[in-house]
Symmetry: C2
Subunit: 525 residues, 2 copies
C-alpha cells in the first residue's frame, strides 16, 4: 500500500483562528433544575460545549397559587448559584448570561430573591417573560434541527411554551403554567395517582390546548420537543430498545410510545417508578405529569411523533451571541453548519476535504440512476462524509477512519436524523479498509441502505485514490457507464501517474459496488 | 450536580510548545516489505505517528545463494521508493531517514541498485550492518517495553537479529540469514510442505541457535519479538480468541500457541492458509517459515512466552533522533514516558492532573493493607489514571470519561501490559459516573481485579471532588481507618467549603468500595 491518506493536521497549525476564541457561561435557573453550560467559540465560525452542570433544585416547590418562593427552596437555590459563581470565577469565565424562567418570573418575592442571589454569588439574573422564554427555546431548536414548519414545545418544571414556526420564522408563541412540577403539585398528589386525578389533569390540558386554534398538525409539519422531561422519556425508550446510538438530540418518539409510558407510570408508585431502567431518581415523582402533558399535547394537535431537541433556551441564548454578526441569529443551513463546525473543531484539511467532496459528488451525479440505488437525499450525506472523512487523524493516524466515525457519532450533527448520522459515520469508517456493512446500526436504517452504503463508500474510496497526493492533481473526472462497464476519465493538471496507479488498484471496489467493470483512462486537461 | 470536572483545555492554549514541532520520515527497505512512517515530534517532549505506509515488495525474491537482486524485484522496489519520495515531497517532509537491511546489505549489485534508487526518487539509502540493525531493533524495543533483562528478536524477510539485553543495555547481538522469505525459499519449497523439508529446517535452526551459549532463559528474563511475521501470528491468535483489546504491541504469545500455529500451517497448502481468519494474503506463503523459526528460537532458548513489540528498527531510528539531547537515547522510565506523552498529545491540565495524582496516591498509601486489596504494582496504575483521567475532554466535554478510556485503549501505553492498560482505561472511565465493572476486559484480568478497580476508582473520584474547584484548595489529606469507619481530614489553604460540600456527597462511593463509613472533617493547614 502506498500513501492512502492525508497526514494528521500539523500540530504547528494549532496556532490558528482558535487563538481568538471566547468563552461564555449560560445559566438557566428553572423551576425544577438549575443548569450551567460553558461554551467556547469563535464568533460565527465554530463552538463547543466545554462544561455542563445540572443540579435538581425544585425552586418552585410549594409555591402554590400564592406564587411565593419558599424559604427552603430559596436556600437550596442560593447555595447552587453561589457554587456556580465560584466555579465561573475559578475557571476564569467573565462572560455570564444568567436567566430565570417560570418560577422566578411568577414569584411575588422575586425582587428580594434576585437581590440575595446577586449579593451571595455576584451573578445578576435576567428574568425572561413567557414570550422571551418561548423565543429562545425556538431559537435553540431552529438552529439545531431541520424544522421549517411546525411547533417547538419546551416543557420545564414550571411552564410549557408552545411556539408556532412557519418557514423557520417564529409566528406566535404562548406560555402555559403546565410544567412538570406544577401539574404534579396541582393535579397528581396521591401515590400512586388515582384515575380521577389523572382524568381531571387531562380535562384541564384538553381545555388549554383546545383553545389554540393554530396548534394543529398539517402535512410537512414537525413537532420539536425540548426539556429534561422529554429527554427522560427518551432515555427510557432507548434503554428498553437497546438503541444503537448514544444520542438524545434528534431522537424520535411516537405518540403511541408516549401513551405507553403514561400508562406504565400511572400504574406505579413513585418508589416503583424509580426502579424503571433509565429513570432518574429525582425525576420519578414528576415523570407521570411529564408523560401526561406531552401525550395530550400530541393528541390534541394531531402529531403522530415528536423529535427531541437537546438545545432549548440555553442554546438560544448562546446562538444569539454566536451569530450576533448576522441580520437574524439563525444558521442559513443547519446541516451544513453542523458539518463545518465539527470539521473545524478537529482542524480538517479544508482543501483536501473540499476536493474529495467535489470528485465524489461529481461521480455520484454522473452515474445514471439505473446504476446506483441512492436517492437525492443521500447526496448530502456523501458530501458530509467527504468533508469529515479524515477528522479522526486528530486522535491518531492509525485507524483514523474508525476515529472519524467515533467523533461523528459522538457529535450527533444537529439537523441530520439518526439514520443519516449513522450513514455518514459509516461512510467515514469505510472510506478505507474493510467491507462496508451497517454493523450495529441496522435498526435505524431503511430498506436498501446496505446497498447504498456500499455504493457511496466505493465512490469515496475512489476519490481518495484520485487525490492521494493531496495536491488536486486530478482536477476533474468524467464517468460514463456502458452496458457492463464504466469508464473513468481523469482530467489532470501535471503528472497524474500516482493517481492513476492508485486508482487502478481499487477498481475492484467499484466493481463490487456497481457490478460494472471499471476502466480508467487519462484525459486531456 | 455541581462542577464535577475540569473544562476542556482552552483552545487558545493550542499555541503552545507544538509550534516547535518537527517531522521526520523513517523508511525501512526490508527484504519482504518496504515501510514508511512519518513522526511529528517536539524533541524530548512528545511525538506521534502521523502517517504509516507499507508495501509488500519481496525484494529478496530469487536472490538465492548468489546474492544478486533480480530485475523484477528491483523494478518493484524502485517504483515504491519513487512513490515514497513523491509522497514526502507532496507532504513537505524534508527530513528523511532511509535504511536498507538484509537483502540490500548482502546484494552483490548493491551499489548499482542504490544509485538507481537515488536517481529515481532522490532518496539516499543508508545500508545497516547486521549489528546496526540489531542495535536499532533493540533501541526500539527497549524504549517501548519494560524489558530489563532478556532478548530482543527481530525477524524480517531476510534476516533474524538476536540481541542480548542486560540491565537495559545491549550486551551482544548477532544476525542470522533466517528471515521468513529466506528460510521459505531455501527449505520450504513444496506446497504443502513435506515433513522432511520441515525437519531439515528445524535441524538447521537448532544448529544455529544451539551455538549461542548466551541465548538461554534465566529467571526474570523476557523475550521481546519484533517484526511483521510475529504480528501476523498475533493477529491469528487474537481473531481466534475474540480478544477484547485492539492492540498488538505488548501482546503475549506462549510457546505452546506458536507450536499450535506451526502445526496448523504445516498441514495446509498456501491456498488453504489464506482462508485462515486474520491471515494476510501476501504472507500466507511465508507464514509457516515464520512460525517454525519463532518456535525453535523459543524452544532452544527455553522461553515459555514472548511479548510482541510493534516498534523495531524504525522505532529505534526515531528514538535516536528524538532523544538526541540525552547521553544515551533511552527513556529513563518507559511507562512514565508513555503516560506523559499521551497526556501532552491531548494537552492535559498538568497542575490539576498532578494534584489529583498526589491526593489519590496519598489516600492509597494511608489506607492499611487490610482495608484495600491493591498491591504495590497497582499504585502505578492509579498514578497513570490520575494523570490521564481528563484527556477525553479534548474530544468532547460530554462523556469525557468515556473518551479518556477510548484514547488510552487506542494508544496502548507502551511498557504497560494489556491488563494494566485496560485497568488504567477503566479507572479513567469510572472517575465519574457509573458503577465500575471490568466490562469486556474480564478475559485479560487477574482474580481480585474487579474489587481493586472499585477501590481505586473510589479514591480517584474522591480526589476529583476534593479538587473540584481545581485550585488545589485542599492541599493534603489525612486518612485514618477505624473499626467500621474511616476519617478523612482535609488540610486546606483558603476556603474549602466547595470541596467539603462536594466530597460529602460522594461518601457512599467510599463506603461501597471499602465497607467503611466515611467521616469528613476539616483540619488545620
Amino acid at each position: 500500500m502506498i500513501p492512502t491518506d492525508p497526514p494528521a493536521p500539523s500540530l504547528a497549525a494549532f496556532k490558528d483562528v482558535y487563538q481568538n476564541s471566547e468563552r461564555v457561561a449560560v445559566i438557566d435557573l428553572g423551576s425544577n433544575s438549575f443548569r450551567l453550560i460553558v461554551v467556547e467559540y469563535v464568533p460565527g465560525l465554530s463552538f463547543r460545549v466545554t462544561d455542563e452542570v445540572a443540579e435538581s433544585v425544585r425552586l418552585s416547590e410549594g409555591m402554590g397559587d400564592e406564587n411565593i418562593l419558599r424559604a427552603a427552596a430559596m436556600n437550596r437555590a442560593a447555595k447552587v448559584v453561589q457554587i456556580y459563581g465560584a466555579f465561573c470565577k475559578a475557571s476564569g469565565i467573565q462572560e455570564i448570561i444568567a436567566v430565570g424562567t417560570s418560577a422566578i418570573r411568577d414569584a411575588k418575592n422575586q425582587q428580594a430573591f434576585l437581590a440575595r442571589l446577586e449579593a451571595e454569588s455576584g451573578i445578576r439574573v435576567r428574568v425572561l417573560s413567557g414570550e422571551e422564554e418561548a423565543y429562545y427555546g425556538y431559537l435553540g431548536a431552529v438552529n439545531s434541527s431541520d424544522l421549517h414548519n411546525g411547533f417547538v414545545l419546551d416543557m420545564g418544571g414550571g411552564s410549557l411554551q408552545i411556539s408556532h414556526v412557519e418557514q423557520r420564522q417564529l409566528r406566535e408563541a404562548v406560555s402555559f403554567p403546565l410544567g412538570a412540577v406544577r401539574v404534579t403539585e396541582r393535579f397528581l398528589q396521591s401515590d400512586p395517582v388515582t384515575t380521577s386525578e389523572l382524568d381531571s389533569l387531562r380535562e384541564h390540558l384538553d381545555r388549554q390546548f383546545g383553545r389554540l386554534t393554530w396548534f394543529r398538525y398539517k402535512p410537512g409539519m414537525k413537532m420539536v420537543f425540548v426539556g429534561g422531561g422529554v429527554r427522560m422519556l427518551g432515555r427510557l425508550a432507548q434503554k428498553a430498545d437497546d438503541y444503537p446510538l448514544d444520542l438524545m438530540h434528534g431522537y424520535v418518539l411516537s405518540q403511541y410510545r408516549i401513551k405507553t409510558f403514561r400508562k406504565l407510570l400511572a400504574d406505579k408508585s413513585i418508589a416503583e417508578r424509580r426502579r424503571i431502567p433509565g429513570m432518574k431518581i429525582e425525576r420519578a415523582d414528576i415523570s407521570l405529569g411529564t408523560a401526561a402533558v406531552i401525550h395530550e399535547a400530541m393528541r390534541v394537535s394531531g402529531f403522530e411523533e415528536l423529535t427531541i431537541s437537546a438545545q432549548g433556551v440555553r442554546g438560544g441564548l448562546f446562538y444569539e451571541r454566536f451569530l450576533a454578526g448576522q441580520e437574524q441569529p439563525r444558521f442559513a443551513d443547519v446541516r451544513k453548519a453542523a458539518v463545518l463546525n465539527l470539521a473545524h473543531l478537529y482542524r480538517f484539511q479544508e482543501k483536501h476535504a473540499e476536493h474529495i467532496a467535489h470528485l465524489t459528488l461529481s461521480m455520484f451525479d454522473q452515474l445514471p440512476a439505473a446504476v446506483h440505488q441512492c436517492r437525492k437525499g443521500e447526496r448530502d450525506l456523501l458530501w458530509a462524509a467527504s468533508m469529515l472523512h479524515d477528522i479522526g487523524v486528530a486522535i491518531d493516524y492509525n485507524d483514523h477512519h474508525k476515529h472519524s466515525a467515533y467523533l461523528i457519532l459522538n457529535d450527533g450533527l444537529p439537523g441530520y436524523t439518526h439514520r443519516e448520522i449513522a450513514l455518514i459515520a459509516l461512510l467515514a469508517r469505510y472510506h478505507r479498509k474493510g467491507q462496508p456493512t451497517l454493523d450495529e446500526f441496522e435498526a435505524v436504517m431503511e430498506p436498501g441502505d446496505s446497498r447504498r452504503l456500499v455504493q457511496m463508500a466505493a465512490l469515496l474510496r475512489l476519490s481518495e485514490q484520485l487525490d492521494r497526493s493531496r495536491d488536486g492533481v486530478v482536477r476533474d473526472v468524467k464517468l460514463t457507464a456502458g452496458g457492463d462497464y464504466a469508464q473513468l476519465e481523469l482530467l489532470t493538471r501535471g503528472d497524474g501517474q500516482v493517481a492513476l496507479w492508485s486508482v487502478e488498484r481499487h477498481r475492484d471496489v467499484f466493481q463490487q459496488a456497481f457490478g460494472l467493470e471499471l476502466e480508467v483512462v487519462t484525459g486531456h486537461s
